[in-house]
C-alpha cells in the first residue's frame, strides 16, 4: 500500500471518529418549549408547546405538522423521500427539516430574521 493511501485512511478515520464524537456530544435532551415552523425561511407559525393540551395539525407547504403536548413533528409530507416524517420529534438543536418542500421545524429559536433579538 502506498504511503499516501495510508495517510488518506488515517485522515478519514480521524474525521469519522471526530464527527462521531460531535454527534454524540450534541445528543442531550433540552426542554425547549417553543416550536417555530418555517416555510422557505419565513416563519409561518410559532407555538408554545407547553400550552398544547390536545394534539392538532397544521398544513404547511405540502406537509402536515403535528403539535402535541410538549412535542412537534412532521406527520405527513408529499415529498418523494419522506425522510422528515421518519425523523420523529424535533428536539433542541435538532431541527426536523423537509429539504424538498423547504419546511423546517425548529425548537425554540429565531433564525435569520435580520435581528438577533428584539428589545422592548
Amino acid at each position: 500500500m502506498k504511503r499516501s493511501t495510508v495517510i488518506y485512511i488515517i485522515v478519514f478515520a480521524f474525521m469519522l471518529i471526530g464527527c462521531g464524537i460531535l454527534v454524540l456530544a450534541s445528543d442531550h435532551n433540552g426542554s425547549g418549549a417553543t416550536a417555530t415552523v418555517y416555510l422557505d425561511g419565513e416563519i409561518v407559525a410559532v407555538v408554545d408547546l407547553n400550552t398544547v393540551t390536545e394534539t392538532w395539525t397544521l398544513a404547511v407547504g405540502g406537509n402536515t405538522v403535528e403539535f402535541s403536548p410538549g412535542h412537534v413533528r412532521m406527520l405527513d409530507a408529499c415529498c418523494p423521500d419522506g425522510l422528515c416524517v421518519r425523523q420523529g420529534y424535533a428536539s433542541v438543536g435538532k431541527p426536523v427539516i423537509c429539504l424538498p418542500n423547504r419546511v423546517m421545524l425548529v425548537i425554540s429559536g429565531p433564525a435569520d430574521t435580520g435581528v438577533d433579538a428584539v428589545a422592548g
Binding site: K2, S4, T5, Y8, F12, M15, L16, G18, C19, G20, L22, V23, S26, Y38, D40, G41, C79, P80, D81, L83, C84, R86, Q87, G88, G93, K94, P95, I97, C98, L99, P100, N101, R102, M104, V106, G109, A111, D112
Partner: protein, 168 residues
C-alpha cells in the same frame, strides 16, 4: 467537430442507464439515517467509473442524464436543485483531485464530501438560515462511508471489467 466514437457514446448511455437504475433502487431503501440531505449517493459510483474509463465529458454526461431523468421521474424543484448542486460539486471536485486508479476510492470520498456539503449549503440558502449546519457532522460521516463504498465498488469494477470495454 471531433467525432465521438460510437463505442464511447454507447458506454456512456449504458452507464447513465445503470446510474438511473441504482438511483431508483436506492430510493426504495428505507432511510438509514433520518437526517436531511443524507443520501448514500450510490449512483455516483457510475459517474466515477465513467470518469476513469471514458473521460471527463462522458462522466459529466452520465451525471447530467441521471439527474435530469431522476428529476423527471421523481419531480420536485427542490430535489432537483439538491441533486444538481450536489452532483455538480461532486464531479468538479473529483475532476480536480483525480487520483491514480489505485486510489479511486479516495477521489470518491472527496466527491461525496463535496456532494453532501453542497447539498447542505443549498438547503441553508433556500431556507435562509444557518441552522441546518447543525447536521454537518452527520453528513460528513455519511459522506465518508458512502464515498468509500461507492469508490471501492467503482475501483473493483475498473480493475475487473475495464479490460473488456477498452477500445480496440
Amino acid at each position: 467537430m471531433k467525432r465521438i466514437h460510437p463505442n464511447r457514446l454507447t458506454q456512456t448511455a449504458l452507464l447513465a442507464a445503470i446510474a438511473l437504475g441504482v438511483w431508483y433502487l436506492e430510493s426504495l431503501l428505507p432511510p438509514f439515517t433520518a437526517v436531511p440531505g443524507v443520501k448514500p449517493g450510490l449512483a455516483n459510483c457510475l459517474t466515477l467509473y465513467a470518469l476513469y474509463t471514458l473521460g471527463r465529458k462522458e462522466a459529466a454526461g452520465v451525471l447530467t442524464v441521471r439527474v435530469l431523468l431522476a428529476a423527471v421521474l421523481a419531480g420536485g424543484m427542490g430535489s432537483f436543485l439538491y441533486s444538481a448542486a450536489g452532483g455538480l460539486l461532486c464531479l468538479l471536485v473529483m475532476l480536480c483531485v483525480k487520483l491514480p486508479p489505485q486510489q479511486m476510492w479516495v477521489t470518491s470520498v472527496f466527491g461525496a464530501i463535496a456532494h453532501n456539503a453542497g447539498q447542505l449549503t443549498v438547503a441553508a440558502l433556500l431556507m435562509r438560515t444557518a441552522v441546518v449546519f447543525v447536521y454537518l457532522p452527520h453528513l460528513l460521516i455519511a459522506a465518508i462511508l458512502a464515498g468509500t463504498l461507492t469508490g471501492l465498488t467503482a475501483q473493483f469494477a475498473y480493475f475487473r471489467l475495464h479490460k473488456y470495454t477498452k477500445e480496440g
